[in-house]
Amino acid sequence: MPKNEKDLILKVTDLKMHFPIRKGLLAKTVGHVKAVDGVSFEIERGKTFGLVGESGCGKTTVGKCVLRIYNPTGGEIVYNGKDIANYSASEMSPIRRDIQMIFQDPYSSLDPRQSLKSILKEAIVCDMKPHGATEIEKRISELMISVGLDPIMMDRFPHELSGGQRQRLGIARALACNPDLIICDEPVSALDVSIQAQVINLLKNLQKQLGLSYLFIAHDLAVVRNIADNIAVMYLGHIVETMDSDEIYAHSIHPYTKALLSAVPITDYYEEQKRQRLPLEGEVPSPIHAPSGCPFHPRCPYATDKCKEKMPDLTERMPNHFVACHNV
């Protein structure tokens, strides 16, 4: 199917987010942190797009730009056919109901002094329409049941909940305004393994029932692969590879993706003994002094002179599989 026939809910083109570094009495701008530097991707309606990368690669910044928590330095964010990158605050506010966010640490994103009921009520009434008290109560129960919380707990406070329950509450709050797109920023990384699986399954089921689209941001490749339809791997503000998530384990091409994969041990004992390791030396460079050309070249075993000078473009190497590397 050609590109333009896809039902896209979000299309991000050449998104840039540069944070100025200010110094001195007059707060002169002395440089920029290029947190996101030319990122493009698209999300189909009803699908999950996974964004993976190590800390500091800019994946959370992308999520925050889409919600316009940050005002991007450049690029387009087309949501349902409209470019929202330059919308004013009042133009954004109806859209913020359609795009919701789930955070990593549900404890710091929930008000400790509000009961569950009041947290959810706030999200329900934010659409400025009149709501009856019984209607709100009914909706709160519905929401709690849909995320697997018992409505009896309505009058409790966040500290009385376990980590998994708190994350469920975070999801319920995101669902309260009937959103189309949910940005999930590391939603399961603070949870125990057995609870993590429960929350992943819940997110998957909600997607089936409500036709939600997700932008799923996480550092755990296995989690992202499990939930996402497409995966983009980020490194220092750039997407280096995007592909169907079935491809990632066996058919990834970019040297960084391969190194990242080989760093993650798998739980199959026999398979693990056979796996080839591609150790990655050194650390991620600072985005203030990002290397010229391909950002990965100082750590890349295949780097050539060309890599030092020119940033490679994302090119389609296989159907639906884009790689940014000169030496494929």
Partner: protein, 337 residues
């Protein structure tokens, strides 16, 4: 392959409780394990299962009150170190000298207002009795040994000037410098990125090869266990519920909890379309444990017979494969089919 390495650390029937207003909380309830010289073992479990408290008890670092080691023995190089007073010279020599500990968040284990070099050489002066200058030189050597580039300059750094992976290396350097025979690594890489995690774990593994150090790692990451450990102890609600070789536990797990845990890990390598098989319910609160098997409320195999009391660990296979479950015989029969 027969394994005739000498046992370095043996913990027998260790019990640690916390005495709170709500009553006695048995955080560690009758836990036994051993570590041989040059061996890497892993203790696996979810948060609150007592895996860290067990290690803190071995080091006698439990805050007393409310915590107290109520029973058991801990043999290190043949001596029962639980008999030592926790403030005694002997115990202090073991902490850092014989057994070193590495924690999850290296920023909180290093003092932010002292240079790396001061912290490193202080430990070396304590344990090796060297003067300041010699200790500093030893420190430089230790930093080089853990793969920190430009160690002389790094000695002058403060912890905040280093990345998470570097700080974790400094802690490992402290262990190396004092010639610790056992390193207890409590979630050593949870705060680190995956590529840094691989670097730090590879470094720990190389210490085993080079110095014959033993490593006990406490983790919830089953992938790390697969790659680095030889034997595994799985803990749940203060008890070891299954133990065995890495191969036995990961490929032939028999306790329902271990099986559930393995099924709920998202995999990189298997079919993607299927849902994860999650374990229902929440991990139990240690203050409200039932008098029978603690896993009962979440167990898919649970039946009335399981309420007869706490199951004991019993041998279920060669190579020291143990499991504590009332219905283990049925599970074993089903597995054979």
């Amino acid at each position: 392959m027969t394994d005739n390495r000498e046992i370095l650390l043996e913990v027998k029937n260790l019990k640690t409780s916390f005495f709170t207003q709500a009553g006695e909380v048995k955080a560690v309830d009758d836990v036994s394990y051993y570590v041989k010289r040059g061996e890497v073992i892993a203790v696996v479990g979810e948060s609150g299962c007592g895996k860290s408290v067990t290690q803190m008890s071995v080091m006698q670092l439990i805050q007393t009150p409310p915590g107290k080691i109520v029973g058991g023995e801990v043999f290190f190089e043949g001596k029962d170190i639980l008999k030592y007073d926790r403030f005694s010279e002997e115990m202090r020599a073991i902490r850092g000298g014989g057994i070193a500990m590495i924690f999850q968040e290296p920023m909180t284990s290093l003092n932010p207002v002292y240079k790396i070099g001061n912290q490193l050489s202080e430990v070396i002066m304590c344990h090796k009795g060297l003067d300041k200058k010699a200790a500093w030189a030893e420190g430089v050597k230790a930093l080089a040994a853990v793969g920190i580039p430009d160690p002389e300059a790094r000695m002058e750094n403060y912890p905040f000037q280093m990345s998470g992976g570097m700080r974790q290396r400094v802690l490992i350097a402290i262990a190396v410098a004092c010639g610790s025979k056992l390193i207890i690594a409590d979630e050593p890489t949870t705060a680190l990125d995956v590529t840094t995690q691989a670097q730090v774990m590879d470094l720990l593994k190389s210490l085993v090869k080079e110095y014959g150090t033993s490593i006990l790692m406490v983790t919830h990451n089953l992938g790390l266990v697969t790659r680095y450990a030889e034997r595994v102890y799985v803990m749940y609600a203060g008890k070891v519920i299954e133990s065995g070789t890495c191969e036995d536990i990961l490929m032939h797990a028999r306790h329902p909890y271990t099986m559930g845990l393995l099924n709920s890990v998202p995999r990189l390598d298997s079919e993607r379309s299927q849902d994860l098989v999650a374990i229902d319910g929440q991990p139990p609160r240690l203050s409200e444990l039932p008098p029978y098997c603690s896993f009962f409320p979440r167990c898919p195999y649970a039946c009335e017979d399981c309420k007869q009391g706490k199951p004991e660990l019993q041998e279920i296979g060669p190579n020291d494969h143990y499991a504590a479950c009332w219905r283990i015989e049925e599970i074993l029969k089903n597995a054979e089919k």
